[in-house]
């Protein structure tokens, strides 16, 4: 192991892990080393760039220490979170797609609350064969806060009342924000609602709903938008609301069908 040069170093590192007791860890680190070295070779990374990169990662950690997930945000911004979600949340065609999990955005949410215009999500939960799913637990979160959990009725329908979301930036006063700026990328996310639906016998769904016409749909900083998750958010004058009540202020409604995947079904 003493004849290490730029051609043999990668294999030398991998060989060092032959004794690892955890085979999965060994395989993961082996692939990581191969790709990390491949990256450095492909771009002929200079020593100054290497130093800048290690400093950048350390800065991300420092920012994380201050109570926010800057490393997660970096993963989001590089599309890694979206990829991992997609790889692990494969569902048959026709099922509602998942989207990236909420990460650092909650903190920002609370700092930049929108006016509390009511939003009614009128959902219908069903299986892939179209049959309604009763007793599903639906919960919606927007930057205005989280709704109560609402169960679906015998026809699979539920109504969650929350507040209208607006576009918002990811936390961009840290290292990742500076990277996005250097890359010419806006830090904005389109308006979105986080929604989770749990029903016995079905895979849990965690996804996001977006607003048709939002100016940031094509530049979502964390790559969470899916065509199938963009819906019409319909504005209403004050009056009768979907839950049988009445609103003295304008309100918005959003109809959406959620199609769950049975846990016993073919998931791939």
């Amino acid at each position: 192991m003493r004849h290490i040069d730029e051609d043999t170093i990668t294999q030398a590192v991998i060989a060092r892990h032959a004794a690892a007791g955890d085979a999965r860890l060994r395989d993961v680190v082996t692939s990581l080393v191969q790709h990390l070295h491949g990256f450095a070779r492909d771009v002929k990374l200079t020593e100054a760039e290497w130093a800048e990169g290690t400093r950048f990662l350390a800065d991300c950690g420092v920012a994380s220490a201050a109570g926010r997930s800057e490393v997660t945000l970096l993963s989001d911004a590089l599309g890694l979170t979206a990829l991992v979600t997609a790889v692990n949340q494969r569902r048959p065609r026709g099922c509602t797609e998942s989207s990236v999990p909420p990460s650092t955005h909650g903190e920002q949410d609370r700092r930049e609350r929108a006016p509390d215009e009511p939003l009614y999500v009128c959902g219908r939960v069903r299986a892939l064969d179209g049959s309604p799913i009763a007793g599903a637990q639906a919960r919606i979160g927007s930057r205005g806060g989280r709704s109560e959990v609402q169960p679906s009725g015998s026809d699979g329908s539920f109504i969650c009342k929350t507040t209208v979301a607006a576009p918002q930036p990811v936390a961009h006063d840290g290292p990742v924000g500076r990277l996005l700026q250097a890359l010419g990328r806006p830090p904005w996310r389109p308006a979105h609602l986080h929604i989770t639906i749990d029903a016995p016998g079905y895979e849990p769904l965690a996804t996001q709903l977006f607003r048709q016409g939002d100016p940031y749909l094509d530049v979502d900083a964390v790559f969470g938008v899916r065509s199938s998750l963009v819906a019409d958010w319909v504005c209403h004058e004050p009056g009768a609301t979907p839950d049988g009540d009445a609103s003295a202020v304008p309100f918005t409604t959003l109809d959406f069908d959620f199609v769950l995947n049975a846990t016993t079904g073919d998931k791939r």
Copy 2:
């Protein structure tokens, strides 16, 4: 950009950087995204593993915030530092090889000082054609401290007095130490001296010298050992020393030829 799935996400992320003003940054990030996504795909990274990985990196940053370079140590342990050094310090055959730069190890050095047995490095600095280089500035550092700068004489020779180095572990009470342990890797580095030699008209040399017979030569935690940098460290009874003085205690000598690369020569 809304039809993102596990097959299209990588291209979607790369396309987002088309507007980057800094072409080099764009190219580096493009390659990084390709390799990062390739890694996640190759190992089918689970969401739990992704979460553990982001936590690990954040922990490295937190440790870095506490005043040590845990991220650099991670790069060292994965052989990235050695690779970047090798790629950027290519020299014609016959020149003295460079080795990984000192990073986090200095802190550990001061905590675990060896007994101060004197070590005399008797160096000869020459060019690739064999001609001696006078007036080169040599500086040696071991875990006992750094030597004074010593100039080479008209025959290219210099003598630096320092203290004998012993094997030492890298800082291993943090996240990287835990990773090494999980991988079945000892955290040890073989005994080594850091040395820098600067001479006008020649590329600066920063390298390390190792001790023949050291038990850790083949498992150096940071992949710094090169066969050409391993030398005999010769032990002597008290008596006359190479600098013309005398030692009342046992001492060690180390002879080494340093071959520098002319800055005007062919470097590749």
